[in-house]
Symmetry: C2
Subunit: 307 residues, 2 copies
């Protein structure tokens, strides 16, 4: 267990990774309101939407409108996901409203093929070109590597392969690389080993993105923290992942992550009470109980109050 | 992150800590069937019931009958909870069917007073006397210290106080001491510190008992593992805790714990598929979705199958 209490940076990805996985598209007005609630929690990074093809992900077809309408404080670095150059071009129509773009590919061939119908090499070429274009526009770039721990089609993913892809993303100019456990297969030992090796290996910022599919998300966070990782992605209300079957959980809940980090002494800049307000609001919009634990139990109250 | 892959021992406490918290009492036949399913998963320790006053905990009023009827393999060490000498006497009527007794008190005065209407000193005297009697009967003794990390009435609990109580329990002859996060307030840093100090301090076996109230149970397990703890308590299906409000979660789910430990390389002797059968069975009996993650998602399948 690391003894330090360094600050940790969190990118809230619920408005992208969460909203895109909801079977019923959330109304644009609700999206704007929820994004504005999140942007006022004190968080510093917010993935606001994506510029993907509306026929592929209709849930985010209004991404440009949400981006245009949401009132976001200057202190928040706004990320949008762009799958390719065409997505980047659409995002650039609102260049002054975005700070970072995130791009993605999978570490495993089968998952990349299933997701985008390309080889990993083809995706690396496309991501590299889009990174170059984005940097040319002065945007910070985040490359997220899906299935960096396990792949539902191939099983365990070779860490050497993951580090090799990281090298190529860093060489292409990525400012930040996310190692993502897309299908919730990672365990803490594996996380500790990969993050320790990646920290020695990769020059740019490393971010951890865990799913709580088997309840291990916060355990994996602790392992990544121990290995020196100080940047995480999470989703308010534990949104994301696949909503079917009921109970299959998504990204680690931002409020569970923030609660744990604060209890451990790691500041995040986020006001947990305001964050819980945002999560309550999205739960109300969706009309079903969400997977977040702190949303149900409330924050730990250390004050000697109820005796 | 510890590099070793030592075996870990799990005590399943669902039939006691889980069943006693259900608002509707489970039928005796169902209890016997569920306990027998658990006893055939390969687990080595099973808390089968408690001998508490039936007017206080009517859900376990049939404890003696469940103990008498359940067919348990010799390889399973059967624990029953006894709150005091009278409980021990009732348990001794079936001396040949039990191997261990567990006793409990709280580390914080307010919680102990609220729970058993005694001071901690009074409880320590009673627990010590019952330990002596139980050892006189050749039983192994487990003393579980509730609110060892945080108390809902008093806030953080002083680790020096916890270690002082551990000393007195060890001096009274406890073979094993459980440090319990009864209300889900512990965080991994606190767990690492307390278990590291306790390992240096306490001679007898140390067991960790975590609740998943704020989603941190497995993160706390990793911290305890790192500090050398190799004994855990958990509850199939994530039963236990307070079932109201819905979603407020109980003990860490045994199947989530086993899944993580196996993925990390720590053997438990438990067959995860058989354990999931038991959890599915209790979910069917209770007729509501349980909090367990692995019960919904299934075990990690590392085989290159679905491609």
């Amino acid at each position: 267990m690391t003894a330090d209490t360094a600050a940790v940076t969190i990118r809230e990805v619920g408005p992208r990774d969460g909203f895109q996985n909801e079977p019923e598209t959330i109304a644009t007005d609700d999206k704007v309101r929820l994004v504005e609630l999140l942007a006022r929690t004190g968080l510093r990074r917010l993935e606001l939407t994506s510029f993907v093809r509306p026929d592929v992900i209709p849930q985010l077809a209004d991404g440009a409108e949400v981006l245009a309408r949401a009132d976001i404080p200057e202190t928040v670095s706004v990320t949008v996901l762009v799958p390719n150059r065409r997505g980047l071009e659409r995002a650039l129509a609102q260049r002054d409203r975005i700070d970072e773009v995130s791009l993605f590919l999978s570490a495993s061939e089968s998952h990349n093929r299933a997701n985008v119908n390309r080889s990993v090499d083809e995706s690396l070429a496309g991501v590299g070109a889009t990174i170059a274009d984005a940097r040319g526009e002065g945007l910070r770039t985040v490359a997220v590597l899906s299935t960096a721990f396990g792949c539902p089609y191939e099983g365990a993913v070779d860490p050497d392969r993951v580090l090799g892809i990281c090298d190529r993303l860093a060489a292409a100019g990525a400012d930040e690389i996310g190692l993502a456990d897309t299908t919730g297969m990672a365990n803490p030992r594996q996380v500790a080993e990969l993050f320790a090796r990646a920290a020695d290996h990769v020059e740019c910022e490393l971010t951890a993105h865990f799913h709580n599919t088997r309840g291990q998300a916060l355990a994996n966070v602790v392992a990544a923290l121990d290995a020196g990782c100080r940047s995480f992605e999470s989703s308010f209300g534990e949104l994301g992942g696949c909503p079917v079957p009921p109970g299959a959980t998504g990204n680690v809940a931002t409020e569970d992550l923030v609660s744990m980090l604060h209890e451990m002494g790691h500041p995040t800049g986020i006001d947990l009470a305001k964050l819980l307000d945002a999560s309550h609001a999205v739960q109300q919009v969706l009309g079903r109980p969400l997977g977040s634990h702190t949303l149900v139990a409330g924050p730990v109250d250390w004050a000697p109050a109820r005796g």
